[in-house]
Amino acid sequence: MSLQRILFFVLFGAALLACNDDDLPQADGPTPYSLIIPSSLPGLPIPNNNPLTEEGVELGRKLFYDPLLSGNNTQSCGNCHNQADGFTDNQLQYSTGIDGISGDRNSMPLFNIGYANNFFWDGGATTLESQVVAPIMNPIEMHEDLANAISELNAHPDYPLLFNKAFGSDSITTSMVMKAIAQFERTLLSGNSKYDRYMKGQATLTPQEQNGLIVFRAAAKGDCTHCHTLGGTFTDFGYRNTGLDSIAVDSGRARITLNPLDLGRFKTPTLRNIAVTAPYMHDGRFFSLQEVLDHYNTGFHYPVNLDPNLRAAVKGRMTAQEMTDLIAFLQTLTDTDFLTNPAYGRP
């Protein structure tokens, strides 16, 4: 090689090194995650500032199941959000935090959560990212000092590298933890129940299940579709008072809006996988679907802001047989593939 060539390459290198803080795209950034959305579900909105990546989702999953994020390192998100129970708390009415204190609300399912605009029974959390730090620092849940959790992660043998792969920096920040867990949560999609396969012509409903579907839709019977939309997410995410109490014990949505008209209003939950997410309602007061239907059929009260559809509903409009059929239909919404998919379980 001529001297000129050598010199050229030396200088070429020098010119490249001359300026480091450059914004050329990184060649070895995280790999985009290819999300497979079941055909029964709509397109999923992903925030621009938190795209799904292989590394981010995998890190989020590890964090979701890691008790390191709790005050005494004994509890993870997965403790109160168990996959086999549709990511709710195994049969518990109120979940118990690390200090043995229980809250006054029932744990919520976490699948298809990326479709929601607000989180919690009262919609108090406004982004999935923002929600993440709530249970970590909540004294009745994981009761951890956030700054402490972040320094534990930074001192951990594995995490700095994993964060670097996902976010390009091994100096871990609260924001990265929020983003990673939210990414994992957005991949939890459930849309392959017997009902979905029936809609695609791949399964048949029994006559009882079919009758249950009719009761579910009929305006003079279940009229469930007003709020729990049929198909898709099985909820319109609206806030309603369903007359559980004549005077609300839990102020519900009003705690967030400070508006008395929102007293006792709660977010309409999905009915997917409903057979495995007992107990039911924001306070887990009903332990079976039969109890839920008894409430809608005859049990509801008349608070001032009772949902108009329920106010108009005639008590006793469903027969015992119709309710049994309706339960058979609700059981077709269980998605066993989702509940057992190892990709969502403890890594």
Binding site: L7, A15, D22, F120, S130, L258
Partner: protein
């Protein structure tokens, strides 16, 4: 132009100019010089001295007495003797007001902690030279930032200034004790926030920015916060977390009082 590319171009041309071997030696210092002066400089021209900066120091008072944390020694307009153990709040969007009432917004989000002197300094730079007739800031965080806590700096949630049940920052915290009418010591907890609580403080000021740093003194009188125009009586209001309809009146009252609780002066 990107500096790497510019450096490369200069090297290419220099190499071409000195094709013959002896001149390579000549080209070395030339190229080295290129790298030296072009190396890592910002593309923009050096800023002319057309801007200045401010350093605003916040001081806390109860009436005319400097605030003493952990002492049951303050008395408010309602006659309650009270103590402050914790006083923290967000002071954001500090803006200087021009005579045509347009604003120069520093875009800052500062968490002020009465227990941490270094938190009590708000700095602003690159302020265009000129005369300013006032200052405006928020106690709290504007709704654009208040609806997600996935943020950094003083808005990093690890400072614990947020509610677990409601996305948003706690704008202002006062925790401590007071003596009730019967003479018993009771605890006091004020966690003030939600979008409706964003309080705007505007103060007249005569400030000339002329390329240097100006020092300002911002005085926050807690007694005025609990007095003007709405008297807050701790016997009635001693616990508020901005999470029920009953907190609305208290939020409105404090929101109206915040502007009277601050005064500003230029010290240099």
């Amino acid at each position: 132009m990107n500096f790497r590319i510019r450096n490369l171009l200069i090297i290419f041309t220099t190499m071409k100019m000195f094709r013959s071997r002896p001149s390579i030696l000549l080209s070395i210092p030339l190229i080295a010089f290129t790298l030296l002066i072009n190396g890592c400089k910002d593309d923009t021209e050096d800023p002319l001295p057309s801007t200045g900066s401010i350093k605003m120091t916040v001081e806390h008072y109860t009436g005319s007495t400097p605030l003493l944390l952990g002492q049951l020694n303050a008395t408010n307009a309602a006659g309650n003797t009270y103590q402050v153990d914790l006083l923290k709040y967000y002071l954001s969007n500090v803006s200087l007001i021009r005579s045509d009432s347009s604003l120069f917004n520093l875009g800052n989000y500062d968490l002020i902690d009465a227990d941490n002197p270094s938190s009590q300094i708000v700095r602003g730079k690159d302020i265009p030279n000129g005369n300013y007739i006032g200052i405006r800031f928020f106690i709290g965080v504007d709704s654009a930032r208040n609806n997600s806590i996935d943020q950094s700096g003083d808005l990093d949630p690890s400072y614990g200034m947020f509610w677990p049940w409601n996305t948003g920052y706690i704008f202002f915290k006062h925790e401590g004790f007071y003596t009730d009418t019967a003479g018993n010591i009771q605890s006091l907890l004020f966690h003030y926030g939600t979008d409706i609580a964003l309080a705007t403080v505007s103060l007249p000021l005569s400030l000339e920015i002329n390329g240097t740093e100006k020092s300002l003194n911002l005085r926050f009188d807690l007694n005025a916060l609990y007095a003007d125009p709405n008297i807050i009586d701790f016997n009635i209001d001693n616990y508020h977390q901005s999470d029920s309809g009953n907190d609305r009146n208290w939020i409105e009252a404090l929101k109206q009082n915040f502007p009277q609780a601050f005064s500003i002066s230029v010290i240099r």
